[in-house]
């Protein structure tokens, strides 16, 4: 399959808002979604590659990547009115129901690849973990969270950049 090109003009930089992380979970029988990053100024997916390097007798290095453990931190993650994920995490925190932290699906949508007509490229990670790191702050209540991607990935596209998007897995050949 050909590599998809960016939908950007030559030398145009991709704005940060074109990279979206969306959490999805089930509440009773209802599927809920929330875009992560409200009031967060800076957040990156850290891949945390586990690497091993050997050097042969000629001094040449051979580096293997054994695995990646992608993680994304959101700090601040403010307690905001209307935030369903915030309420969900707060409920889990109160009950100390830690196993429920690992029941999230995460979508990484790269809106700098694709378009509104054909859809935007996305990765769906199932069985991911979202954890709260602390609770407090100064003027506003902050509950920074960390998102741990499962690497159980389905590649595909989303048809729109909206809470009610449809995810379509790529066709396998």
């Amino acid at each position: 399959m050909a590599v998809s090109q960016f939908n950007l003009a030559q030398n145009q930089r991709a704005e940060r808002k074109l990279l979206l992380t969306v959490a999805e979970w089930t509440e009773g029988t209802t599927q809920e979604r929330e875009l992560l990053g409200r009031r967060t100024e800076d957040s990156s997916i850290e891949y945390n590659a586990d690497q091993s390097t050997t050097t042969d007798i000629l001094g040449i290095n051979y580096t293997d990547i054994n695995k990646t453990q992608p993680q994304q931190d959101f700090d601040p993650y403010l307690i905001l009115g209307g935030s369903k994920l915030g309420a969900k995490l707060n409920d889990i925190r109160r009950r100390n129901a830690l196993s429920e932290l690992s029941q999230f699906t995460l979508y990484v949508i790269t809106a700098y690849v694709g378009n509104a007509q054909d859809g935007y490229q996305a990765e769906k990670h199932t069985n991911c973990t979202i954890t709260y790191n602390s609770l407090g702050g100064d003027a506003n209540v902050n509950m920074p969270i960390s998102v741990f991607f499962s690497n159980e990935i389905t590649n595909g596209t989303v048809n729109k950049l909206s809470i009610d998007f449809n995810f379509t897995p790529d066709a396998t050949i």
Partner: protein
């Protein structure tokens, strides 16, 4: 997306305050006269904006409300009590004391609106965070003695923080 005239929305909002409502309000340029008010819009620099990863931007609207008041050059009249202490007389209220109270009433009103989350309407794309004053007391900027009557200019700084969601790609 229709553009919202923030200045008009601020004027509408400030006009809800009784001490402003009962007096003439000017925008940017004012005819200085006793009890007139003036809204002066401040600078809003792009570098002060905070861009969030979801595409929303926190912006700040700054303005000053200037209040013109005639001044009194008479001292605070005091009376001697039977114990020999000098206290302000109720009979000789000082105009300057009364006039600055209008500014204080405006500040108190703005702070009360903020506490009650009663904000100006910046349109559907803006979420207002807070409406605050830059000082807890009106500031005396100066007195123009060449006017008749001489006018004092008091100011109340206004800072409105709001979240502009218009450039966000994501649609909730």
């Amino acid at each position: 997306m229709p553009r919202v005239d923030l200045n008009k929305r601020i004027l509408e909002y400030i006009y809800e305050c009784p001490v402003v409502e009962e007096n003439p309000m000017y925008f940017t340029v004012a005819e200085e006269q006793d009890n007139s008010n003036q809204l002066l819009v401040g600078r809003e620099e792009p570098r002060d904006e905070i861009a969030y990863v979801d595409g929303t931007v926190e912006r700040t609207y700054r303005a000053e409300i200037l209040m013109y008041k005639s001044v009194a050059y008479s001292p605070i009249v005091t009376e001697e009590t039977s114990e020999g202490k000098r206290v302000p007389s109720d009979l000789y209220l000082n105009e300057n004391l009364e006039d600055i109270e209008d500014g204080q009433t405006l500040i108190d009103w703005i702070q009360e609106q903020n506490d009650n989350r009663h904000f100006p309407n910046f349109g559907e794309w803006c979420i207002i965070e807070s409406v605050e004053t830059t000082s807890n007391r009106p500031v005396l900027n100066g007195v123009n003695p060449e006017l008749e009557p001489p006018l004092a200019q008091y100011s109340v700084g206004l800072v409105i923080k709001y979240l502009d969601t218009s450039k966000q790609l994501w649609n909730n």
